[in-house]
């Protein structure tokens, strides 16, 4: 009997000969990370639990990404707790302002294929793109993991999502995952592993796969996994041959298999106020937008900025639309500068900020007034998440966001190219 990707990684990590959905296994994480929203809590809980040291200081990272730049007066206190934890327990891996943690973890190879990684954030599912069993935990669990080096996991049942064929022009990874979320709904993947395969998936860049894995949590998914291929191996700096085991078994037990024809995808919009309220763009075209945001751990990578820059080259955004662009990491910011994307975006009218969680953290960076409408490339559009509870948020790909910034209403980039 074959195994799902999730089962394979859990077996590899725990050493059990076999496992099946529902089994409780004790994992030994290869890396853990906590970020600035939780530093005081992790510190206090860790001390309260009575731990004197972390189980392996080389396996711990601390990152400041939500609260730097600081925007509310309690924020610096959270940073101080980060330094305090690092100093007291000898953690060298402290990233003060290098970008969004979910970009840095795979980019800096802290999360690697075949690893088990826990982070205090729901979008930890992102690294599933490189074949890493990564999922979010709370700060109390993080404190326990830091002390013990262990965490229980229930082996998840799995949904296989097979996507074959070629994506049409102007359709991106974001559209794929939005379509799937619209089908599965906000709880359709709860506790489950979503595993992606097919010729269209093989053709996706690692950046695009990161976008897809990032959002599997929006249907409740525990992990969103891709098999390891040569692109992954190159991205993560590992030997491809050594990870051939992390591939799909024909006889693995999937509770559900979804098939998609890539050619059938169109640009999709997740409409206010639920991520699973997904519609083809043709159904929401012409909704007026007051603000456009390109960034976040979902869509702040180089290819996202490239897609936006291509559409905005030589153009100006609507003068009454606020347009915010935030690269996902320091290195992406630099690459985007070198490629001329940042200059293009600024000339088009963008406010370009340092890499961090930006507007998506919902505490500053472009909050909405009553009745305003945001089109964002981020991952959540919940009521009141980015400002007034009377504002509306729509989610899209960077290409749609860029096109909409020009027109001031939700716009399919295709219509600008005609």
């Amino acid at each position: 009997m074959g195994h799902t990707l999730a089962e394979k990684i859990l077996m590899h990590n725990t050493g059990v000969a076999s496992c099946k959905p529902g089994d409780i296994v004790i994992t030994k994480p290869n890396k853990v990370m906590f970020h600035d929203i939780y530093t005081p809590f992790v510190y206090e809980k860790f001390k309260e639990m009575g731990f004197q040291k972390v189980w392996d200081k080389n396996k711990v990272a601390i990152m400041f990404d939500h609260l730097l730049p600081t925007c509310l007066k309690d924020d610096p206190r959270h940073l101080r707790y980060g330094y305090k934890f690092a100093d007291e327990f000898g953690i060298d891996c402290l990233h003060e302002s290098d970008g969004i943690s979910h970009q840095l973890m795979p980019e800096l190879r802290y999360a690697k294929p075949g690893d088990v990684v826990y982070v205090t954030d729901s979008h930890t599912t992102t690294y599933g793109a490189i074949g890493c069993f990564s999922t979010g935990v709370g700060y109390t669990e993080m404190a326990a993991i830091l002390g013990t080096g262990e965490m229980w996991a229930r082996v998840p049942s799995a949904i296989k999502i097979q996507i074959d064929g070629e994506l049409p022009d102007n359709v991106y990874a974001k559209d794929i995952i939005l379509c799937i979320l619209g089908d599965l709904k906000a709880d359709g993947g709860t506790y489950k592993s979503l595993e992606f395969c097919g010729t269209a998936v093989d053709a996706l860049s690692v950046d695009s796969r990161l976008t897809i894995s990032n959002m599997v949590v929006e249907c409740g998914g525990k992990v969103g996994l891709f098999a390891v291929d040569r692109k992954t191996a190159e991205y993560s700096g590992v030997d491809y041959e050594a990870f051939k085991w992390l591939s799909f078994d024909e006889d693995a037990n999937y509770e559900q298999v979804l098939h998609y024809d890539a050619a059938s995808f169109v640009p999709y919009i997740a409409c206010h106020p639920y991520v699973d309220n997904v519609h083809p763009i043709t159904e929401v075209t012409d909704v007026a937008v007051n603000e456009v945001f390109i960034g976040s751990c979902t869509n702040g990578r180089l290819e996202d900025l490239a897609a936006a820059a291509e559409i905005l080259k030589g153009k100006k955004v609507n003068p009454f639309v606020k347009f915010i662009v935030t690269p996902a990491s320091r290195s992406i910011f630099k690459e985007a500068i070198a490629a001329g994307y940042i200059e293009t975006l600024i000339k088009a009218g963008a406010m370009v900020t340092h890499p961090y969680c930006s507007l998506c953290q919902g505490r500053s960076g472009g909050l909405l007034a009553d009745n305003e409408v945001l089109l964002g490339t981020n991952n959540r559009n919940f009521l009141g998440r980015m400002g007034s509870a009377k504002a509306k948020t729509y989610l899209s790909s960077p290409a749609v966001a860029a096109a909409s910034a020009i027109t001031g209403k939700i716009t399919d980039p295709k219509t600008l190219q005609a």
């Binding site: 730097l68 730049p69 600081t70 925007c71 509310l72 007066k73 309690d74 924020d75 610096p76 206190r77 330094y83 003060e96 302002s97 007051n290 003068p319 009454f320 639309v321 606020k322 347009f323 915010i324 320091r330 910011f333 630099k334 500068i337 070198a338 940042i342 200059e343 600024i346 000339k347 009218g349 406010m351 370009v352 900020t353 340092h354 507007l359 500053s364 960076g365 472009g366 909050l367 909405l368 007034a369 009553d370 305003e372 400002g387 007034s388």
Partner: protein, 387 residues
């Protein structure tokens, strides 16, 4: 001759001794001036292309309240078809670069309206009510004040910037003696002081209490003025204004080691390309000290693009700085780089009053961009020539 008299006589509404001036530009922004829009009622504008609406202070917006103010301004700009800048940088700088000419009169509600004196224009700080009137009538009530002359001679020493000069002027003049007067800067020092230097000088000149300031290269006779003062730039050292006001300005060399939590380079007195060049030269190839948040915000989109092209932004990114979007940023202190109780900010901006960038007990030292950059590298307040 006294330039201000010429400007005022040309802008005067009546031929007799002026009681009102014609206004060339009104600035409406998301700081204090926005309430001028509320005072307008449904009135029409005297000239829609002379009203400049700018979203610059808290961009991108850091609160629902500010967003509502910005929404009101967007609707106003749309309705009246005014000149409109949406997150493209600081209003003063955009007007200086794109609109204001020598001899013109600009009104707004900001603390640093004197900045337009850098190009020989008159900037006047008015109340939101007066701004609303100016937008409707194109005039502002005005009683001609006394003019004083501050003559600057000599050249700045290495490591000294125009910010150190104006802080030295402030130390010399205090914050009340020139209340209600107009400062005219003149002297041979202007052979080497750049436009950027002049912007910095005029920007903070209002902190003397003066109504406004203007650079007058033709001021030749000290006797034309109510008072005359002289400063040799060779005598200017690297200075900081200590926290909470402009009463206590000291040379950096006199300070004991003061640990820094945050540094800001930007704002309307240190966010132009020259300031970014100076700062980049200091941090290039180095790293900011651990625990120091080095915040940088180019003044405008044009400055940002120029800095990108010159590689300065990349230098900052490599040094570990946080490069934020064009706008007032930390200097307005509503949502970028908020500082906590007892933290220390070294700011090359223009505000240091209690609580203006976070907690009331936080301490803001105002300095030049060079001093701010040097302090980011060492982690303590440091003069640039110590790097």
């Amino acid at each position: 001759m006294v330039l201000i008299e010429k400007v005022l006589s040309e802008a005067s509404v009546t031929a007799e001794k002026s009681t009102a001036l014609h206004v060339d530009f009104c600035i409406v922004n998301d700081a204090a001036a926005h309430s001028g829009v509320d005072c307008m009622g449904g009135a029409t504008l005297f000239d829609n292309k002379r009203v400049v609406v700018v979203l610059d202070h808290d961009t991108p917006s850091g609160s629902v309240e500010v967003s509502a103010i910005q929404r009101k301004l967007i609707n106003f700009a749309k309705q009246h078809d005014t000149v409109f800048y949406n997150g493209e940088g600081i209003g003063y700088q955009l007007l200086l670069d794109n609109h204001v000419k020598p001899g013109q009169v600009v009104v707004g509600c900001g603390e640093h309206m004197a900045v337009f004196g850098a190009v020989g224009a008159v900037g006047l700080k008015v109340s939101p009510e007066a701004l609303a009137k100016a937008m409707q009538t194109g005039t502002v009530p005005f009683a001609a004040p006394e003019a004083v002359n501050i003559e600057l001679v000599g050249e700045m020493k290495a490591g000294v910037q125009a910010k150190d000069v104006i802080l030295t002027v402030l130390r010399m003049m205090g914050t009340t003696k020139l209340a209600g007067k107009i400062i005219e800067f003149s002297g041979d020092a202007f052979q080497t002081l750049t436009l950027n230097d002049r912007i910095t000088l005029c920007n903070l000149a209002g902190r003397t209490g003066a109504m406004t300031a203007i650079v007058n290269l033709d001021a030749s006779n000290p006797d034309d003025y109510a008072a005359h003062y002289r400063l040799d730039l060779n005598d200017v050292s690297v200075c900081v204004a200590k926290p909470d006001n402009f009463e206590d300005i000291v040379e950096v060399g006199q300070l004991l080691s003061i640990p820094v939590n945050e540094v800001f380079i930007g704002g309307c007195s240190a966010g132009r390309i020259e300031d970014l060049r100076v700062a980049a030269d200091i941090v290039r190839g180095k790293k900011t000290a651990r625990g120091v948040r080095m915040m940088i915000a180019p003044a405008t989109s044009a400055v940002y693009v120029q800095a990108l092209q010159e590689g300065l932004i990349t230098d900052f990114i490599d040094a570990g700085a946080i490069v934020m979007n064009q706008g007032c940023s930390v200097c307005w202190g509503k949502s970028q780089g908020i500082i906590d109780t007892d933290e220390v900010l070294v700011s090359a901006g223009s505000h240091n009053c209690k609580g203006c960038a976070g907690a009331d007990t936080a301490k803001i030292y105002l300095s030049s961009a060079a001093t701010a950059a040097a302090s980011a590298v060492t982690g303590v307040i440091t003069a640039p020539n110590r790097i």
